[in-house]
Amino acid sequence: MSNDNAANDVPGRRRILKCMAAAGAGTLWLMNGGVLKAYAMGDEASAAQAAADASFSFVQVSDSHIGFKHEPNMDVAGTLAAALARISARPTPPDFVVHTGDLTHLSRPDEFDTVAQLMQGVKTQRVLFIPGEHDVIGDNGAAFFQRFGQKQNAGGWYSFDYGGAHFVALINVLNLKSNGLGYLGEDQLAWLKKDLAGRSAETPIVVFGHMPLWPLYAAWGWGTEDSGEAMTYLKRFGSVTVLNGHIHQIQQKVEGTVTFHTARSTAYPQPAPGVGTGPGPLKDLGTRQLKAYLGIRDVQHVQGQDAVTVADEVLA
């Protein structure tokens, strides 16, 4: 799995690389002519030309699960730090970095501390967050919002314009019902409708959420109960990109002008929809299983030597 040369062959580095291969290092998004395109982090060669033409870029990291300490990753802070180091090493810093939730594993103060500390060090102008269900345990997100939230709306959701695009950050991990799906709620939907109403259909729209905003695999709660309603407001736009975390693997779906992507976790992969007993961490990360999960044809590229676009990595 690791082709480190002898000079690099020290246990710590080897282990980090192994973890990085398992975990994923974030996704670089380049906006070009109103269309967002994804690149695996660390692949400078492939992204270089696109980066030169891009109007702006940002990096999505997700599901760092700080506080998780089991196989396959006993050092989730280390793998998040490594992912962030790759961002900081970019020749052109991304305009911002967005963390799409599950910053922590158990919503504990020390876990939030670690995340804050690590994210503070990344070389970019702005860092944005949205909560995952692991960040709102026990207090409906009070601790999360206090430290990482935007104060734009009481519910924590927000929007902003950047580089000619309109960004919307949705929260779908609160007030979950027993169907296991994410939930936006009436207030947020009403806000979203209003937020999008006056905008030209030519405006590229980018939506962030934690749980998938499309019915991906309901039996494991991989979807959002009322995402259909949100889509009715979004589908009139010419370019909509919806970015989620939560499922710790790349999945993509295109529906009209709307493209949905889910991101990898910086902590550990989860099984493909419906494979195995449940969406728990994949512990056995032999090369074969790893490829099967992450949809990667060549593990090398995960280590940054042969990046492909997200589209190339989609699982069937």
């Binding site: 089991h70 692991h134 345990i137 979950l176 027993s178 709660g221 449940g278 969406p279 728990g280």
Partner: protein
């Protein structure tokens, strides 16, 4: 790699209505002081050793593979139900209708207990994975 088996005496109920949080310090895991897991079998090591005759009767629910096992448990009034998380993912136990206060987030091998002292049907779920549902029937 996982230090699974721990012997922990859960605090005894101070009163029958009292809700007990029995979240264990995660630091224990890292301390290396715990015995290594021998195999995939899950012993009852996290159960209280000293469930004395004076304690209410104790019944266990395991949280395993994103499910409560057994999903439906029928107990006598006054039974103390102890949930123990056997997954490497965090879970918690939350009453569907607020009949009891939700557990804190339970890491691997953490336990949570509640004494059911009134007859009824108590539906609960995991607030992190709401598709995980269970029922305690108290007779």
């Amino acid at each position: 790699m996982n230090a699974r088996h721990r012997t922990v005496a859960l605090p005894r109920p101070l009163s029958r209505r009292r809700l007990m949080h029995e979240t264990l310090a995660a630091a224990l895991l890292a301390s290396g002081a715990l015995a290594a897991r021998a195999g995939p079998s899950y012993g009852g090591a996290a159960k209280p050793e000293a469930v004395a005759a004076t304690d209410p009767q104790t019944k266990a629910v395991d949280i395993k593979n994103f499910a409560f096992v057994p999903a439906t448990l029928t107990v006598a009034v006054g039974t103390r139900v102890v949930w123990t998380n056997r997954d490497d993912e965090a879970h918690l136990v939350a009453s569907s209708d607020g009949a009891f206060k939700a557990s804190p987030a339970m890491d691997t091998d953490d336990s949570f207990a509640f004494v059911f002292d009134k007859p009824g049907t108590y539906a609960y779920f995991c607030a992190i994975h709401p598709m995980m549902r269970g029922t305690i029937v108290v007779r």
